[in-house]
Symmetry: C2
Subunit: 335 residues, 2 copies
């Protein structure tokens, strides 16, 4: 295992220490627990709070989207582990300003259980919560069983739209309605060229041959749908988009946001090469790209690979996704 760290057992906590030391004006924690991350300037104006959570090892996901114009808090687990219900609840209490808290998180059993338990505790303290479980990885379950799909990089768009709505001081129901709409219009397909190593484990959870890649692999190394020779960029773009476009479906005349995400070790140069092919493909299909997000938006530590995500826009989502936001990990001006 070739990693720069101190103690593998402290990987997540040492990462958090670095993050708080680097960004004291933006991020802090509650309940004396580094895992309970909230933004420094929490609203007291009755804004619906938005909280996420999940395992470490995916930066900038999940905590990197806590900040101005985005989320209010994030419960941080150990590498690829769910945070606890207590940690989620402490954040809930901190970010609630009277009008409830929306939980937005990925479709993983540990996270679902802990967010639900946190809701139960919150109810006893008269804090209203609601849930939005995101799963948009087309490779992880067949059409018709979308509720079984894994959440991957596309959760960013759900965060972005719901958070912009919450900033308008909309009700919990309205913020959730927007989040549900964004989630329903997002689809992702990923690919992996190499595994990553969980520091506490010390060896890769799977192997790929020198000339192999896996189409549809999840961000924790969950099995994909096809193991194949490494494809040229154009062929790969088609393999991913053929599955994405047919699934919603995205159709001629649609306007979308496009994300080309790197999983960790794949250079930005390669992401732009892939993007070039994705862009051509969408042009041929008559699908218009409103804005492109390229870079590491949701990673799996040092895994090589990436993902492509589409968000279908209507006027409402377009307006919300376009609003400026700023966190230590992600900033955009008004689009």
């Amino acid at each position: 295992m070739k990693k720069i760290l101190n103690d593998p057992q402290n990987f997540a906590i040492d990462t958090l220490k670095g993050i708080y030391a680097a960004h004291p004006d933006s991020l802090t924690y509650v309940n004396d627990d580094l895992h309970c991350l909230v933004k420094t300037n929490l609203s007291d104006k009755g804004k619906v709070g938005i909280v996420t959570g999940g395992g470490s090892g995916h930066l900038p996901l999940f905590l990197g989207y806590v900040g101005e114009g985005l989320l209010d808090g994030c419960a941080v687990g150990d590498v690829f582990q769910s945070p606890s219900s207590e940690q989620i609840f402490e954040i809930t209490k901190a970010v609630n300003s009277g009008n409830g808290v929306l939980y937005i998180y990925g479709n993983y059993s540990g996270d679902i259980m802990n967010f639900e338990m946190s809701s139960d505790i919150a109810e006893m303290e008269d804090i209203k919560t609601d849930h939005l479980v995101c799963g948009e990885d087309v490779a992880s379950s067949i059409k018709g069983e979308e509720h079984k799909r894994r959440g991957v990089a596309g959760i960013f768009f759900v965060y972005k739209c719901a958070s912009a709505k919450a900033d308008e001081l909309a009700s919990l129901e309205e913020v959730k309605r927007i989040g549900v709409k964004a989630a329903a219009n997002v689809r992702t397909m990923g690919f992996a060229l190499s595994p990553c190593i969980i520091p506490e484990v010390g060896k890769p959870s799977f192997t790929l041959k020198d000339d192999e890649m896996e189409i549809g692999m999840g961000i924790h190394g969950e099995p994909g749908i096809e193991r194949t020779k490494v494809m040229p960029a154009k062929e790969l773009a088609h393999a991913l988009l053929d599955r994405i476009v047919i699934d919603l479906p995205y159709e001629k005349g649609d306007e979308v946001c496009l994300m080309v995400n790197g999983l960790g070790a794949t250079p930005l140069e390669e992401l732009y090469i892939i993007f070039g092919e994705v862009s051509e493909y969408l042009k041929e299909k008559g699908i218009k790209v409103f804005h492109t997000f390229i870079g590491e938006m949701a990673t799996s530590m040092e895994m090589a690979g990436g993902s492509v995500t589409l968000l279908k826009l209507d006027d409402e989502l377009k307006s919300l996704v376009s609003k400026s936001c700023s966190t230590p990990f992600y900033s955009q001006k008004n689009l």
Copy 2:
């Protein structure tokens, strides 16, 4: 070689095609040559133009720093190759608005030769140019021979300060004065855990054993000063900073900008762990960190490793480094 691309010979050009397709509102090119990148909204107000250039394979360096509040143009070479003097000159002509053009680039022989030849051509067309050759890698030459040092990630700070000064419509002499001051106050040390592969070559230019790292390696794989077992984060932070701090030197009471840069395959989590140790080290030395930049600022494709850079501030540099800027690859609000 496990890369997503179409033709290895077209790696740089396909990357550029993707970049122009992704960011049409921000970036364009002149002379019908994709290698001649300029920002879309060039100033016509007599602003001194600032141009950089260098090989591909280091995104977001070099072209990623072309944009609002930063550079005006970048001549893009093939992977790890200098752009041509003609390409540099075409950009020079495009960005010149009457008050001259400053070239800021790294200390590599091919780049020096081509920027100097471009200056000669510019002189014949009555365009005033000046040069700022950056080299701040402490590992690449001994103290007293700073002019022999390689330029690495620290060039970002030189870009940032000089560009902010140029935006004040300062003269070429003034803009250069600021760039020279920033360059004189920057020092970097890097480390590598794995090599990268030049697509056209298809195999790594060096190897490191499974438990080895190299301290002081350059961003093209130039030899460092020590090959050692992979160090814990704290030990690594000390190994880098012991060399950086003594070199300028940075002293108790100094205020600095700090950059912890990833070379490509090193996860953001590890950069934050290193940052935590760097931060402790500087605190112990009484060196105050004004602002921290963490992430991939200058890479070497899929190389694992990173670098630490300090910029010593005075009031003038602090004010300039703090100004907002926005490119498709890097944005900051006013600090």
